[in-house]
Structure formats: C-alpha cells, structure tokens
C-alpha cells in the first residue's frame, strides 16, 4: 500500500461515487466530511515507511507511487500539510450541509482536495501546473451549479487561472528541464519572471484580482468560500514547494521586493475597496484579497520567522473566512439580501448568524480576542523590523476594513427595515416567510460554534496554532 493511494486516489474515487449520490445530501455530506476527517486522523497516526501490525497483517505504507516514470510522493514531512488540507476540507464540507450549498459540493469538494494534494506531491513540479488546472476545472461546476446561468466571475476565474498554466509550465522547464545555471543571471531572471507571472495569475495577485469580488457576489457564498478558502493557501504551499528546490530564490532582493509590493497593494487596495462596499458578497471577496496579501507579506520576510508567520496564519485565515461564508450563506438561505441595507436589524432577528458575521469580520481585521490577532500582531512586528512604510500600509488596510465592520455592525444593530421596503427587495413573495422565520437549531449550532472557535483560537493561540510551523518540515531547504 502506498501513501498516494490512501490520500489521493482513494478520496478521488470516493468523490466520483458521490456524484451519483448527490440527491442524498445528508449521506453525501456525511461520507465526504467523514472521509476527510478519517484521512486527517490517518495522516496523524499512520506510520509511513515503517512496517506495522494491523490485526494479523503486517503492513507497510510506502511514500511514493510511480506512474509513467513520474512520482507522487507523500513523506512523513508532509503529514501536517495533509492534516491542514483534509481537516479544513472536512470542516468546510460539514458546514456545507447546514448552508445548503450546491448539491455537487460534497463530491466535487472532496475531489478538489484530492487533486490539490496530488498537485503538492507530484514530482517533477511542472506536472503540478496541470493538476492545478484540473482543480480549476473541477471548481467551475461548484461555482456555477446546474440550474444557474454562469456568471462573469466564474468565467474570469476560469480565464485567469488558466492563463497561469503556460507560465508555470515554462518556468518548470526553465528551472528544472534544462538544469538551471545559477551563474547565468539572464536565465535565472527569465525563470523568475515566468514563475512570478504564473503565480500572479494563480494567486489572483494585484492587479489580477478583479474576478474575486465578482465571483463572491454572484455565486453561492459557501461555494465561493470553499474555493477561495482553499486555493490561495495551497497555491502558496506550491510556491514553497517550488522554492524548496531552489532555496536561493527566496533570498533574491528582487523576489522579496516584488512579494512585498504586491502584498502591500493587495492589503491596502482590498481594505480601501472593502470600506466602500455595500454588497456583503463583494466584501467577502475583498477580505479574501486582503488575507492573501497578508500571506504574501509574511512570505516576504526573508528569514525563518517570516515562514513561521506564514504557516501560523493559514488556520486562522481559513477559520475566519469559513465562518464569514457560512454566515453569508445562512443569511441568503433566510432570503435576506446580502447588502448593508438588507441586513438591517439582523442582530435582533437572527442574532447567532449576524453574530458570526460580525465575529468573522472582527477576526479578519485582527482585533484582540479573535483568531487572527496573534498571527497578525506577530506579522506587524516582523514587518516593522523590515520596512516601516510597509507596516504602516498594512495597518492602514486593517483600519479601512475596520470601517467596514463598523458599518456592518451599525446596520445590523439598527431597527429592522420597514416591512414595505423589505417586501420590495424580495424577489419572491414566498421569501417573506423565510426571512421572518427564526434560526433553527442547526443554524444556531454552527454559527455559535464558529464564534466559539474564533474566540478560543484568539484566547489560546498556542493550543491551536502551536504545531502549524511544523508544516515547514516539508520544505527543509527553505529558511
């Protein structure tokens, strides 16, 4: 038995089977989330490359699987990455059930996880580009489910992420295929340029991020949340994987300066656009952009502390964005328009859902007591040591997002809209009943659970985030 069989092929085959079970939603979610948690536990507990006894059987899980001379390789050092991907996938899939996400989420969501793990474990690297493209294609039916007209955001998502493929393939060839000559600066610069442009598209870096708010405002918030929660961090892990083979690149001043520039532009512009947003779906998109910007800024700190800040930020980011998208989905499910006007008075009519929305936003701002705070304050200190203007710009981005949170809170706390105005905003008269129904126990459980996790992670960061820098053991050459 091999590790890629367990963590890639098996979930992929199960996800194919789940497509046929899509009408049985509870069962589909139970299987996909259950399998994700099982694979998380397996990553934590199963020994790799060691013979162990399972009842009467002696088993050994080998770390690689060869096909056509190429390898899928999952070693002991990759365990925490598997835990990160499958545990976050498991929680997100669990939330999909209560948020009434599109029926394809359990199957395609699980398939996406397995393909992304394959992209991280394939050798040589250039095959990862093709697997990422496969992941992008899998995302399209999630973002544009059957019965809905495909939106421009979904099309732009497909276009921009596909545009990254040629650049990454060329970069893979320039770096690996020809055997890079480090003394040839022209060749190194060419390879860096291709790699940089490829990741600009993949990470939706400034100025190629316009599709994110578009996508998040026109598709189901939970589907958009699932895709936008998983793709950017895994793309950055791919970049780490790539740089792991060429560690000298991380120290290049041009590389660091470029990362810092795009990171700070994403945080600043994301925050400023967010401050003027009326639509909560678009606000979610800008929050995603800002978080990717912070990850890039952590990445740009050229020492081990920067990488640790990057890895420690992954879980708080995921949790905050997941709670945000869950809250938006629950509001949408109650037929409440996802605008600042639409959520007027929601804190009284739907206290748990709006509480989760506000808590997620406060966490994303980086305020104390919430999950992002410990990693954000650490990043701010690191940036202060590197560049005061960059630190100041990051703080300005946070302040701009805080303005939005105040606007959301103000709207949620106001008296509910007059009945006449609210009726006019609803497309279907039947929606009125849904909007007036109180939250059910599942919504209360998930929303309050989300708030609790956000606060617990903020209060006890060591307990939740202490082990995360262990992810870096998969990239031993990077410092």
């Amino acid at each position: 038995m091999s590790a890629p069989l367990i963590w890639i092929l098996f979930p992929f085959l199960v996800s194919l089977g789940l497509i046929f079970l899509r009408r049985f939603q509870k069962l589909s979610y139970a299987i996909s989330a259950g399998l994700s948690f099982f694979l998380t536990l397996a990553a934590l507990m199963l020994p790799l490359q060691t013979v162990f006894r399972l009842g009467p059987l002696n088993l050994e899980i080998v770390s690689s699987l060869s096909y056509f001379g190429r390898q899928l390789s999952i070693t002991s050092a990759d365990r925490l990455i598997l835990v990160l991907i499958y545990s976050s996938g498991g929680f997100l899939l669990l939330g999909g059930w209560v948020s009434r996400a599109p029926r394809l989420l359990p199957s395609l969501g699980l398939m996406l996880l397995s393909v992304l793990v394959a992209a991280l474990s394939v050798q040589p690297f250039l095959y990862a580009a093709l697997l990422v493209e496969l992941a992008v294609l899998i995302c399209v039916p999630l973002l544009s489910p059957p019965g809905e007209k495909p939106g421009q955001g979904t099309l732009r998502f497909l276009i921009f992420l596909t545009l990254g493929l040629p650049f990454i393939l060329f970069a893979g060839w320039a770096l690996g295929g020809t055997g890079l000559n480090l003394t040839d600066t022209r060749q190194v610069n060419q390879a860096l340029f291709l790699l940089g442009v490829g990741f600009l598209f993949w990470l939706a870096v400034f100025p190629f991020y316009t599709w994110i708010p578009m996508l998040s405002s026109e598709t189901h918030p939970y589907s958009a949340g699932y895709v936008l929660n998983l793709l950017p961090p895994i793309m950055l892990l791919l970049l780490l994987d790539f740089l792991g083979s060429f560690p000298f690149m991380r120290g290049l001043p041009a590389f660091i300066a470029a990362l810092r520039l795009v990171g700070v532009l994403m945080v600043l512009t994301g925050g400023i656009w967010a401050a003027f947003q009326e639509n909560l779906g678009r606000l979610f998109g800008y929050a995603v952009i800002m978080e990717t910007g912070y990850l890039l800024l952590a990445f740009s700190v050229p020492n081990a502390a920067g990488l640790e800040a990057f890895s420690a930020a992954l879980i708080p980011r995921m949790v905050s964005l997941a709670v945000f998208s869950l809250a938006l989905s629950l509001l949408r499910q109650a037929r409440i328009p996802l605008t600042l006007t639409g959520i007027r008075g929601c804190l009284k009519t739907r206290p748990f859902t709006s509480g989760a929305l506000v808590a997620a936003l406060l966490s994303l701002v980086g305020l104390p007591l919430f999950s992002v705070f410990p990693v954000r304050i650490n990043l701010i200190f690191l940036l202060a040591g590197e560049s005061i203007p960059v630190m100041a710009a990051s703080l300005a981005g946070m302040a701009a997002l805080l303005v939005t949170v105040v606007r959301v809170l103000d709207s949620a706390l106001r008296a509910p809209q007059p009945q006449k105005d609210r009726d006019e905003q609803l497309e279907n008269p039947a929606d009125l009943d849904s909007a007036q129904k109180p939250e059910n126990w599942q919504e209360i459980l998930f929303a309050s659970g989300g708030i609790l996790i956000l606060v617990m992670m903020g209060l006890f960061p060591g307990l939740f985030l202490g082990g995360l820098p262990g992810i870096l053991s998969a990239f031993p050459l990077l410092k």
Binding site: P102, Y127, L137, P150, I159, L165, L169
Partner: protein, 194 residues
C-alpha cells in the same frame, strides 16, 4: 525548419484567427477550429514524431466533438457590439495584434532560442485567444478563446518539452475545457439543484 512549409501554415493560422472573430455560425466555427488544430498538428509534426504530434490533433478534435455535442443558441455566439461596427473594430484589433506579433516574434525568438516560425505561429494563436477573451462575454466564446490560446502555447512549448506524458496531460486539459464549455452551455437548462 523549412520556411516554405511553415509560411503557408502561418498564413492559414491568420485566416483562422480572422474567421473566428467574424463568423457567428456554430458549424463554421467548429470547422475553423478543426482546421486550426490540423495546422497546429502540422507545425508540431516538424519537431515531434508522428505518434506524439497526433496527440495534438486527436485531443483537439475530440475537444471539438465534445463541444459540438450541444450546439448553442445563436445569441450565445454573437458579440456584444452591434454587428457591423463590432466586426470592424474586432478586425482592426486583430490587425494591430498581427503587427505586434510580427514585430516582437524575432526578438522573442532570439531571446529564447525558439525558432521564428514556431514562435510566430504560437504567438498568433496566443494573442488571438487573448483578444477573444477580451471581447466576448459568452461562455462558449470564452472556451474557444482559451482553446485557441492553449493551442498557441502548445506550439511554442513543443519546441522545449518532448514528454509524451506532458503532451497527453495537455490534451486532457483541452478536453477538460471542452467538457466545461459544454457544461456551461447546458448548466442553466439543467434541473435546479441548489
């Protein structure tokens, strides 16, 4: 590489670029794309053995078969602009692109050691694909634009990468895009599942 062989092929690619922008009939579009894949195959054949180069042709034609399985409504193909002036603007834009491509291809060829004919042919398709992606908002046109762009990239990439597996996977990407195009064409008519 013999220019007597490649120059007519580059000319054919230019015709296909132009046709993709002015034609709004589904069947004709499919025929133009089929010819375009044939030209890509012919160009790659000058570098790769027949068996490997055939992957491009078969993969491309299979993608077209998948796309052609569900013909779109006529309005799903037409451009956003009014017919006559829209066509003029698109053709002008294509003309500018040809100018740029023929100006920069020799420089890029020198910088990357990729032969000029392959670079020119590849860039013609890449830029034509980008133009389509920029002009059209209809899902099927976006997919055609992406397929065109990837065809151009594959011509250039064929010079540097000779792997059978990569060629196969790129054909799979083309097929995947075609499946997604076919899905996007029918998605709104499918049963509401949310």
């Amino acid at each position: 590489m013999d220019s007597w062989f490649t120059l007519p092929l580059i000319g054919l690619l230019m015709v296909s670029n132009l046709s993709l922008l002015v034609v709004n009939d589904w069947r004709r579009l499919m025929v133009i794309l089929a010819v375009q894949y044939l030209v890509v195959f012919s160009l790659v054949l000058s570098l790769w053995p027949l068996g490997m180069a055939a992957i491009k042709l078969i993969g491309g034609w299979m993608s077209l078969a998948v796309l052609a399985a569900h013909p779109p409504q006529p309005e799903a193909l037409s451009a956003n602009q009014p017919p006559r002036w829209g066509t003029v603007v698109r053709v002008l834009a294509l003309g500018l692109i040809w100018l740029v491509v023929f100006s920069i291809s020799p420089m890029l060829s020198d910088a990357t050691f990729i032969p000029w004919p392959m670079m020119t042919a590849g860039m013609l398709l890449v830029w034509s694909g980008l133009l389509q992606l920029g002009i059209y908002r209809q899902p099927i046109r976006v997919i055609i634009g992406l397929l065109t762009l990837l065809s151009g990239f594959e011509i250039i990439y064929a010079v540097v990468e000779f792997s059978l597996l990569v060629a196969g996977l790129l054909a799979a990407v083309n097929l995947g895009l075609a499946f997604i195009g076919s899905y996007l064409l029918t998605a709104s008519e499918m049963e509401d599942q949310t």
